[in-house]
Symmetry: C2
Subunit: 229 residues, 2 copies
């Protein structure tokens, strides 16, 4: 019996830190103070202060000057917040017709206020989706996150046919632009060419040909083409 001790009430800032630490730790194994500060838009000393408090509460393990990682309890709390965020994003687009470039900001606030019951009702109301509108997987109620390995569009071989799986959700303008280009999760694209020296990438999207820069292309994660829809 895995002792599922309920995480007590966490403040909104604490939930934000845990979420960010989870993401950074997933990418790099450890989350650095400056990285956290940059992602949250706060000063580094503020992060040091929060790190101390989070460690005191057993949510993270901290090695001085060497970064932090989540404890089991911290990871559970992080996944709970991430689930809330993504369920809210999915619900807002599916049930309330929210445009996909604005759901992130709304979810960022609501995720700290919604009860588990509300999140579960929202998820049920829209058919328990597996991902949010940007393609990010939604952790399950019991804290499982299935995150299949994806590859940035920027590093796909020329000639390959791939499926857009996930795009960055933070920048509304970028999301509007991607929607304009038809680059949305689930879409099949073919890489037609890639200019050298970080040059633009040409894609076939449907019958249109689009060209995007490498910065944008690195924000787009793709996987193997899906079976005929």
């Amino acid at each position: 019996m895995t002792s599922v001790k309920a995480v007590p009430v966490l403040t909104a800032p604490v939930e934000d830190y845990l979420k960010i630490i989870f993401e950074l730790e997933t990418r790099a194994g450890v989350a650095g103070t400056n990285e956290i500060a940059a992602k949250l838009g706060v000063a580094a000393p503020s992060v040091s202060g929060m790190i101390r408090r989070l460690a005191e509460h057993g949510l993270i393990a901290h090695e001085r000057y060497r970064g932090v990682r989540l404890t089991r309890t911290g990871r559970r709390a992080a996944l709970r917040t991430i689930r809330r965020h993504r369920v809210i994003e999915a619900y807002l687009t599916t049930a309330l017709g929210y445009p996909w470039d604005r759901v992130h900001a709304e979810a960022e606030r609501l995720e700290h206020a919604a009860s588990d019951e509300l999140i579960d009702r929202m998820a049920a109301a829209i058919g328990e989706p597996a991902t949010d509108p940007h393609g990010a997987p939604i952790p399950t109620r019991d804290g499982t996150l299935v995150d299949p390995p994806l590859v940035p569009l920027a590093s796909v071989d020329v000639g390959a046919r791939v499926c857009i799986e996930r795009v960055g959700d933070r920048d509304p303008e970028q999301l509007r632009y991607l929607a304009e280009l038809g680059i949305t999760p689930g879409r099949q694209v073919e890489v037609l060419s890639r200019a050298p020296y970080e040059g633009p990438i040409e894609l076939k999207v449907g019958r249109a040909v689009r060209s995007i820069g490498p910065a944008l292309a690195s924000q787009i994660l793709v996987g193997a083409p899906r079976a005929a829809r």
Copy 2:
């Protein structure tokens, strides 16, 4: 042109104080420190401190030792929060099947996090209701609140037929009990008898006869019977 200067970002506690002050002021013309403290469940000196801050920000007018009332700006902010709260309550019951005894607590948290756009989308999705599930009127987008004069069931004459218009929304247990008795907004009831000395009141609800105490009866607001439904 009525200068509609947008209320800047208010914290959740500030919104809570303004809401309570609005309600107390509506009932009594002025809101006292102790009343506010009691409604919010905080100590009186905490209220004094907040009163100072609210007055500094021009949200209330304060006469020392004499109570507080909202300024025009404060009233607008209060009505905005009340609209959010009630729209959320209505949405949760209508769109997500939330039981009416639990929407208050959920709305209490969400009202501070939801954007105006979300509130308007929710209201539109459920057909712009005029009241929340407990019968409280929903202020309009532009801050108008139509609050028809109602009378507590406790002070209705024996023999009168009245329409239940509104019930207290804070106590879940009380709400479940009222639902059991069939006492819900829109329901017609007849006062059969009232025992003297704050005694129980007998009601005809549908074809059932119910007896309720005066404490409960004073939480139930009624109006003239509606035209045949």
